[in-house]
Each structure stands twice: as C-alpha cells, then as structure tokens.
Symmetry: C2
Subunit: 160 residues, 2 copies
DNA sequence: AAGATTGTACAGAATAAACTGTACAAAAAA
DNA sequence: TTTTTTGTACAGTTTATTCTGTACAATCTT
C-alpha cells in the first residue's frame, strides 16, 4: 500500500509533465511517452513502453519515431540486447526550444515561398488592362502579409 | 474571365495566409475567417461571412466569438445597421504575438501550480519510513521538471 | 401590442484523428 | 537453411473534433 505511493505520485508527475509537453505540438500519446521515458531514465524497449502505457506496440512504434525525428529521444545500443532501446534526451529546455523554434522557422519560410509565388502571379496579371485599382489594393495587402511573415521569421531566428 | 482573376488570386492569398494563422493554434475555419476578414478590410456581418466562406451561420458565430476572445477581431458599430459587424484588427505581428505569448505564460503558470501541489504531496510521503532512495530520486526529477517550467515562464515573459 | 429579425444553445451528422490487430519483411538465432 | 524474433505498413475501428440545422430567447420594427 505504502510502496504503491511511489508509483502513484510518479504517474501524477507524468500526467502533468505530459500536459506541458503537448504544448509543443506533440500528440497526447507522444507527450506521455516522452514524460514516462524521462522519468524512467534508463533506455526502454517498445514492448516495455507498450506495457507501461497500456497502448499497442504499433502506437509505440509510431510515437517513438516521431519523438526520434524531433530529436527528443535517442536510440541506444546495449551489448547483448536485440531489441531497439530508446532513451529520452535530457536538457529539457534546450531540447524542446530548439525543436520548436526550428519548426516555426521552417514553417514560416515555407509560407514565405508560397507567398512569393503569389506575388509573381499577381504582378503578371497587373500588367493587363482593367481593374487596376483592385490589383493595387491586393498587391498592397499581400505586401503587408509578407511583412508579417518576415517579422515572424526574424523573430524566431533571434531566439536561437 | 479576367475579372475573376482578382477573386481567384485573393482566394489563394486567403488560403496561404490562413495556413500561417493556424500555427497560432487557431482551427482551420477560424484561421480562414480571420484571413478573409483581413483582406476584406471593411466590417462584415455573420451572414456575409457565412455566405463568403460557405459555412453555416452557427459556425461563423462560434468562430468569430473565438477570434473576438483572442482579441483578433473587433465588434464595430455602424449607424442604421442592426446586425453585428466584425472587423479584423490590423497590426498583425503584435496582435498574434501578444495573444500567443500570453497563452504560453498562462499555461505554463497553470502547470507550475499543479507541480507545486505535487511537490507538497511528495514531501509528506517522504517523511514516512521505507523506500527513501526512490523518493529522493523522484524529488530530484520533479525539481528538474519544475526548473524546466521556470525557464519556460521567464523565456516567454522576456518576449513581451 | 404583435410580427419579424438576429445571435446562439443544443443535439445530432459528418469529418478527421488516434489507436489497434493482423500480416509481413528484415534480421538474428538455431 | 529453417525457425524465431522484431519493427512497421496497412486497413479497419474507435474516439474526438468540427460542422450543420432546428429551435428559441432577446431585440428591434411596425
């Protein structure tokens, strides 16, 4: 009874910690998995995770892959162990922040490219006759939106 | 045919702009509504929005309410007009950033409170006999997580 | 006052996301 | 080689989210 308290409290911590992690655009399961891994400290196999979180192995495979791609988790090699072992990276703040900021920068640039494309379309049409005031207005607005994206980009770049 | 091009290009801009806005945790519809409103410049009624986006009036009511709560949109009064008129706020960057940053700060603090609560639980149990090394370990980990939240908090506070 | 109009609550329908179980390819063990 | 084990692809199911239509209270018009 008393010894269960350790597990109970640990679970509560996992739950709360996971809520925070979700804010970095991780799914609930990914977040919980990371939180659990973080408190476990040692490297775990897919089966152990599946067991611990009560979710299917497929789910674990997908979730751990996501975490791995985000660089939140590391694949660990251990002599004599055949299964893949994954371990959470430490340095929470730096880890999540750089991942998050990079995500913003990538997305922002992608959007900037798309808008640049539209700017070209727009300037082609503009040279044709008719409706020129409407085109002017639209050009001005697109500039404003572009400016917004530029600010976003440099804002997140300065964070790094 | 040519005159439709204005609408076509405008729609493409709305679509791309909306994608960016979604990154600030708005739903696709909320994002598209804001983008449309932004390009419209003038204030619009629920019916006009419903018409323009091809979505139900209920959806518009809900979405505009969200935008309003986030301070992204303003209720405008116009003489002789009975319906509610909503207009997008300008100053895109400042607008979205402050909303976003405040959201992070609020969430982070909420999480900090929850963790503090857990810290208290934990220290109560610790004084009882048995399993003290496990409690120590857990305490240490909770401290780390708390530290992470403090860093998050001050990080976003410095942005304002 | 009655009649009409406007915004939203609510319940259900449509759509999207998360999750599972089976099946199988790749790699290790026998 | 054959047999076993491990991770993942895929299709389908479950769960959650988004969206719609009806109904109605509040407000305006007559």
């Amino acid at each position: 009874m008393l010894e269960n308290n350790v597990e109970q409290v640990r679970n509560k911590i996992v739950t709360e910690f996971a809520k925070t992690i979700e804010m970095f655009d991780l799914t609930p399961l990914e977040a919980r998995l990371f939180a659990y891994l973080y408190l476990s400290e040692k490297a775990l196999t897919l089966d152990e995770m599946s067991d611990a979180l009560g979710k299917s192995k497929t789910s674990m495979s997908n979730s751990i892959r996501s975490l791995y791609d985000m660089n939140l988790v590391t694949l660990v090699w251990k002599k004599g162990v055949r299964k893949d072992l994954y371990q959470s990276n430490s340095q929470l703040f730096k880890l999540f922040m750089t991942t998050y900021i990079n995500k913003w920068i990538d997305a922002t640039n992608h959007q900037k490219d798309a808008l640049t494309e539209l700017e070209h379309n727009l300037s082609e049409y503009r040279n044709k006759p008719g409706k020129n005031d409407e085109w002017d207005k639209l050009t001005k607005q697109l500039d404003d939106i572009m400016e917004f994206h530029k600010k976003l980009d440099s804002f997140f770049r300065e964070m790094k």
